[in-house]
Point group: C6
Amino acid sequence: DFMHALENDIKPAFGVSKDEFDSYISNGIIVWGQPVTDVLEEGQLRIRQTVKSEMTPLVSILIEGPPNSGKTALAAHIALLSKFPYLKFCTAQTMLGFSELAKCQQLKKIFEDAHKSTLSCVVVDELESLLEYAPVGPRYSNNVLQTLKLLLKRPPPKGRKLLIIATATHRDILEQLGLLPSFSKVVHLSNMSSGKHILHVLNEIEHCFNDNEMRILEKKLHDKKVWIGIKSLLDQIEVARQADENSRVLRFLTQLEEIAGMT
Amino acid sequence: DFMHALENDIKPAFGVSKDEFDSYISNGIIVWGQPVTDVLEEGQLRIRQTVKSEMTPLVSILIEGPPNSGKTALAAHIALLSKFPYLKFCTAQTMLGFSELAKCQQLKKIFEDAHKSTLSCVVVDELESLLEYAPVGPRYSNNVLQTLKLLLKRPPPKGRKLLIIATATHRDILEQLGLLPSFSKVVHLSNMSSGKHILHVLNEIEHCFNDNEMRILEKKLHDKKVWIGIKSLLDQIEVARQADENSRVLRFLTQLEEIAGMT
Amino acid sequence: DFMHALENDIKPAFGVSKDEFDSYISNGIIVWGQPVTDVLEEGQLRIRQTVKSEMTPLVSILIEGPPNSGKTALAAHIALLSKFPYLKFCTAQTMLGFSELAKCQQLKKIFEDAHKSTLSCVVVDELESLLEYAPVGPRYSNNVLQTLKLLLKRPPPKGRKLLIIATATHRDILEQLGLLPSFSKVVHLSNMSSGKHILHVLNEIEHCFNDNEMRILEKKLHDKKVWIGIKSLLDQIEVARQADENSRVLRFLTQLEEIAGMT
Amino acid sequence: DFMHALENDIKPAFGVSKDEFDSYISNGIIVWGQPVTDVLEEGQLRIRQTVKSEMTPLVSILIEGPPNSGKTALAAHIALLSKFPYLKFCTAQTMLGFSELAKCQQLKKIFEDAHKSTLSCVVVDELESLLEYAPVGPRYSNNVLQTLKLLLKRPPPKGRKLLIIATATHRDILEQLGLLPSFSKVVHLSNMSSGKHILHVLNEIEHCFNDNEMRILEKKLHDKKVWIGIKSLLDQIEVARQADENSRVLRFLTQLEEIAGMT
Amino acid sequence: DFMHALENDIKPAFGVSKDEFDSYISNGIIVWGQPVTDVLEEGQLRIRQTVKSEMTPLVSILIEGPPNSGKTALAAHIALLSKFPYLKFCTAQTMLGFSELAKCQQLKKIFEDAHKSTLSCVVVDELESLLEYAPVGPRYSNNVLQTLKLLLKRPPPKGRKLLIIATATHRDILEQLGLLPSFSKVVHLSNMSSGKHILHVLNEIEHCFNDNEMRILEKKLHDKKVWIGIKSLLDQIEVARQADENSRVLRFLTQLEEIAGMT
Amino acid sequence: DFMHALENDIKPAFGVSKDEFDSYISNGIIVWGQPVTDVLEEGQLRIRQTVKSEMTPLVSILIEGPPNSGKTALAAHIALLSKFPYLKFCTAQTMLGFSELAKCQQLKKIFEDAHKSTLSCVVVDELESLLEYAPVGPRYSNNVLQTLKLLLKRPPPKGRKLLIIATATHRDILEQLGLLPSFSKVVHLSNMSSGKHILHVLNEIEHCFNDNEMRILEKKLHDKKVWIGIKSLLDQIEVARQADENSRVLRFLTQLEEIAGMT
Ligand SMILES: Nc1ncnc2c1ncn2[C@@H]1O[C@H](COP(=O)(O)OP(=O)(O)OP(=O)(O)O)[C@@H](O)[C@H]1O
Ligand SMILES: Nc1ncnc2c1ncn2[C@@H]1O[C@H](COP(=O)(O)OP(=O)(O)OP(=O)(O)O)[C@@H](O)[C@H]1O
Ligand SMILES: Nc1ncnc2c1ncn2[C@@H]1O[C@H](COP(=O)(O)OP(=O)(O)OP(=O)(O)O)[C@@H](O)[C@H]1O
Ligand SMILES: Nc1ncnc2c1ncn2[C@@H]1O[C@H](COP(=O)(O)OP(=O)(O)OP(=O)(O)O)[C@@H](O)[C@H]1O
Ligand SMILES: Nc1ncnc2c1ncn2[C@@H]1O[C@H](COP(=O)(O)OP(=O)(O)OP(=O)(O)O)[C@@H](O)[C@H]1O
Ligand SMILES: Nc1ncnc2c1ncn2[C@@H]1O[C@H](COP(=O)(O)OP(=O)(O)OP(=O)(O)O)[C@@H](O)[C@H]1O
Ligand SMILES: [Mg+2]
Ligand SMILES: [Mg+2]
Ligand SMILES: [Mg+2]
Ligand SMILES: [Mg+2]
Ligand SMILES: [Mg+2]
Ligand SMILES: [Mg+2]
């Protein structure tokens, strides 16, 4: 009937929000090493499970990793890979200034909309921010926590499927809050840990270092241990670019020592 | 008189909500071992006690067990077994976004309705969620707690009987909150602890592994110790189904090692 | 004058609420041992003191004991024994969903009404529930606490007398909250501690065990130590009644071992 | 002018509230020993100081002592001794159900009224109750605390004098709350500590024990150490009165052993 | 223009509030020793700095010392010495019953007014009371704290000067609250510590002791150590005055032993 | 279109608020040593990065250092150096009396305005004050904290650039609150640590000491260790100026010993 049609009239969300999803991958996805491959494979497996499963209409994964490791970009990327008709990116940034209650209602609305599409994928970015978590106290919104706990376990109506991809920085916090058991799978995204990872990135970025410089960097970096997120690395590259040609290789290496703990 | 008729006019609730109860048992009840039998027997004994008792018109049991052990499905199953004219499933999922007060009022309403039927059974699912319990702090709704405490001990009016079946994951939390003494009986639901339990399930699920595969699995699993809930096992089976025929037995066993601590 | 008449027009409360008081003694009072006798004697002494005293127009006692020990039934029983023209039973059950303030006002109203009768008796059941006490935190309503403290020490107007009978489960909590000094006397109600207490009860309850069974039970129970409240015992008896004749004695004894710590 | 007259039109408060003050001394003042004499002398000295002082128009004393020691009666008694034209008794009992703010306003009003009379005396009974102090937490009304602190140090307008007499049970609590320095003098009221104190009281109360009984009691009590408040003692005497003539001396002594720690 | 004139139209505040300032020095300023001289000198130096400084248009000092040491009187005295056209005395006494917000607004208003005069002096008396500080908890108004922190560091508009004189009893509390760095200078006001300080005061107060008595007191006091605030000493003198001539020297000395720890 | 024009119509903010920025540098910037040079260089590098970067449209730095070290003046100075068309100074002083929510909205507004300009620079002064941080408790506004966290990481729309310069006194507090990872770079501003730094300042300030005095000071100070902020030093110089010519050098040195820990 009409009311039903109205309520279930989901516009092809994909076309609408693809731009938004792209904005979270502003510098593309560089497959710099195994950790990236692992997360991508897990994502693809879960997409398939969501589509074909008979017994599990609700699949939820959590991508957790250090700041700047690329969690948000990868979550958005996997969501785009699914090509599900309903895609939604859910972030605290768009709820700035909302009351706790308004946030909960917004979250509820997003999931209720998702339940109206046959195949849906919802990204829930930065759980700690949604929870308004602050380590001093600690403080957080129990309202949002309870809402998330329930939504993460609420199965879609018969015949519909839902894939949830969440991201978080502090696995221990979610553990303490009892959020982990709400996920089908928790995937760890590591920082880059070897000079080879960095070289991989440098090779893929244009207008960065010239061939000569790259040779020096390869020699210096290929056997080093480092600890740096992809977003920080891109930042360091950007800073190096501003330096004059004579000193920029040295500056870049010094920065890696300071920030990525390279020795 | 009319007002009285109106207030006590309970529609045959069974017919109405049977569908809802069924939805909590979406994959049926597989009697995979003694723990399931025990809970079912206790349930049936309590149904009889409620019907026949002279001195105890109020009977309440709590089914507690680890996440995914099948608590909700078993509680719903026992409620359906009672065939009482008033059946009600009470869960935080339907109270999302309610204020504490609204929740309390809803709970009160459900029990007051139950008191109007000669024989009633109320399932109270996931006490921790109803209590909005969060382990960091910890935080919980004292309003809901006090309401539950009182409702769990409020005897139905003369000549009426009430059976309450509650579920919970964290027995220790309820103990600390002083909720345990409110129950006539606390029943523990264990996870599957032996490979035989798993084999039992595999044998009952269709289109899962072929005969050859089953033989391998029987050899590998029959003498193993595991620790996994029925809901997780169904999830693992679903994932294995997506894998290609060559690797799916191996994959399934690997997953059991990772998730069910099988060695 | 008229207003005065209206305000002081206390309807013979006894007749009205006797039914309510009876409902708290649904299974009668079985004098199973010395602890019951002691509480009853203390109650009668206090009734006499309230009636005859010149210097102490306000008398208040607290009956405290473990869950299910029969506190509420005994408090109601003593109140009925007093035959005072104003009798009131005050319990959190009738204030479910009240705000803290509404509770305080209700309590105030009850005591103000009591002050209007020459001889009044107010039962205040389950102090912990009225205080909304929860051990995690701990939390409680300081508003209710302050109100109770004041009401428990507020003397009735000249020429009137008031007897207060309160019940509580956790003496230590009331001690910590500073409520104990508000009472003229604190009386402890013990659980049944000996098999003889249980036999006493069995002998007084009809249609329970036949003569043969009783003989076995007497032999098994007469020299045992136990720890069980009268309400729990009645529950166990009820369960045993449902079992078939062959096993019910054994079952009853097994239950006593489990629940009453009998060895 | 008129408004001024209205605002300063203090009705002779003495006549009006003398009855109220008397009600707090329902069983008179028995000077049972040195502790009573000391408090009374301090009171009289302070009355004189208030009247004659040039440099200290505000005098405030705190009478603190154990529950039932007679603090309230003595404070009321001293206030009556002053014969000041403005007398006010300030107690939490008359503010039951007031919000914190309403309490503060009431307190402010009482002191502002007191400031309008040339000579005023305000009794502030049971500071802990006014502060809504509860030891678990602990909790108290900081609003009332701040209000009391300011009012206890607010000097009356030029040419007017104010005597404040407060009572409290827990000196340590007031110390922790920083209220003690607000008083000119803190006076301790002790419990009765010797059998002679008790005999003194027994000798002053009529229709209690006959001459024979008194001789026995004198022999038993004259050299004993005890610890009991006057209000409790009056309670024990009242209970003894209800007992039959044969046993009442023994019963009274037994009670003293139990309650007053007499050995 | 007109609006500007209106907003900046500060009435000669000095004339208006001089009476109020005088009321805080009801018993004058007796320069009983070095501590008083030190505070007065610091005050005068800061007045000069405020008037002449080019780089520091905002000068703020905190006078801190034990209860009754004379902080308020000295702060008021220094403010009067400045003869600045805008003088304001800011105390919690005039904000009794204000909400936190109203207090903050009042404080803001006072400072904004001060900023409109070329030379202003604001006394902020008893910081702890303004902050509603209570040591149990502890509790305080963070709103007032943040407001004070900002106001104490807010420079007046170009060409205007502001001197702030605050008083406080508990230096450690202000330290913990992070208020100390907000002051240009923290000055300690000590209690009287030697018998000579007391003799100095006795010599300046009329109608106190006669010559004979003074000779005895000088002999007794001149080499003693004491610890007493000027306000308490004035109180003791007043009490001694009420005693009869024979005993008043002895009484005064006994009181000093009790209260001022004299030995 | 028109609405767009309206919303994006940023008036040349530079001209408008340059005066405000100047007011935070009321005594100019004296480059007294390496710490100042370092902060200035970092600032200039970041300005360039903001202008030229392709991958990092959002650059944020935090200047942290002890009270009075000159943080605010340096942050304002760097912002002016950028010559960006949109400049905004964001401080708790202009939000005094705002509710938490109003503060958050104000912050959001400032950043949304900044996002409308191609090149923007926002100074966020005194993070602790904005956060209403108080060390006792501790207390702070989690609303402001969450808002700042999100705003510090919210990238400007495509094609626009934003430089954020924040200041703070307590690095450890921000670390505990999890704010540090929100910054591209944290720069430490040290106090003056050597007598040479002080001499540098003295040489740049006019009408301070004469040549003779300077020679003495140079001898006394050139090899000393000190610990003092530039703002405090200017204060000390101002005080010394008020002293008479004979003693002012000595007084200044004494003050340095007291306040700057010089030995
Ligand atoms: N393999 C990759 N994985 C993720 N991001 C990548 C990858 N390669 C390049 N990028 C780029 O790196 C950036 C990753 O930033 P992103 O915001 O996803 O990090 P994050 O871990 O979510 O950071 P934060 O901890 O602040 O939330 C994006 O600009 C993205 O385009
Ligand atoms: N013996 C069984 N007991 C319970 N559930 C079973 C059993 N056999 C099969 N199932 C199926 O397993 C699933 C159990 O899920 P259920 O939601 O009851 O678990 P749960 O313990 O309540 O999980 P949670 O901890 O998330 O609340 C249901 O789909 C049910 O149909
Ligand atoms: N001697 C007795 N004392 C009290 N109750 C008795 C006694 N004999 C029989 N009973 C019956 O036992 C039951 C006592 O239950 P009651 O509610 O008073 O226990 P309770 O201690 O108040 O329990 P709770 O701890 O739940 O408040 C009543 O049904 C009462 O009729
Ligand atoms: N010397 C006495 N001092 C005080 N009260 C006395 C004395 N002699 C007799 N009384 C009587 O004793 C009773 C004292 O009770 P009162 O309420 O003053 O005690 P209290 O210490 O204030 O008790 P609470 O701790 O409950 O506040 C009054 O009835 C009073 O008339
Ligand atoms: N040298 C002095 N310094 C301060 N007060 C003095 C001095 N000499 C005399 N006085 C008198 O002593 C009294 C000091 O009281 P004041 O209220 O200032 O003390 P205070 O330290 O502020 O007390 P509180 O701790 O209660 O705030 C005033 O009456 C004042 O006139
Ligand atoms: N090199 C310098 N750096 C900073 N300020 C300087 C410098 N040289 C002179 N100044 C002057 O010193 C003062 C520095 O005060 P500013 O308010 O910036 O200190 P702050 O560290 O922000 O203090 P607060 O800890 O109170 O916030 C300003 O008046 C400024 O003009
Ligand atoms: Mg992210
Ligand atoms: Mg469940
Ligand atoms: Mg009870
Ligand atoms: Mg009292
Ligand atoms: Mg003062
Ligand atoms: Mg600053």
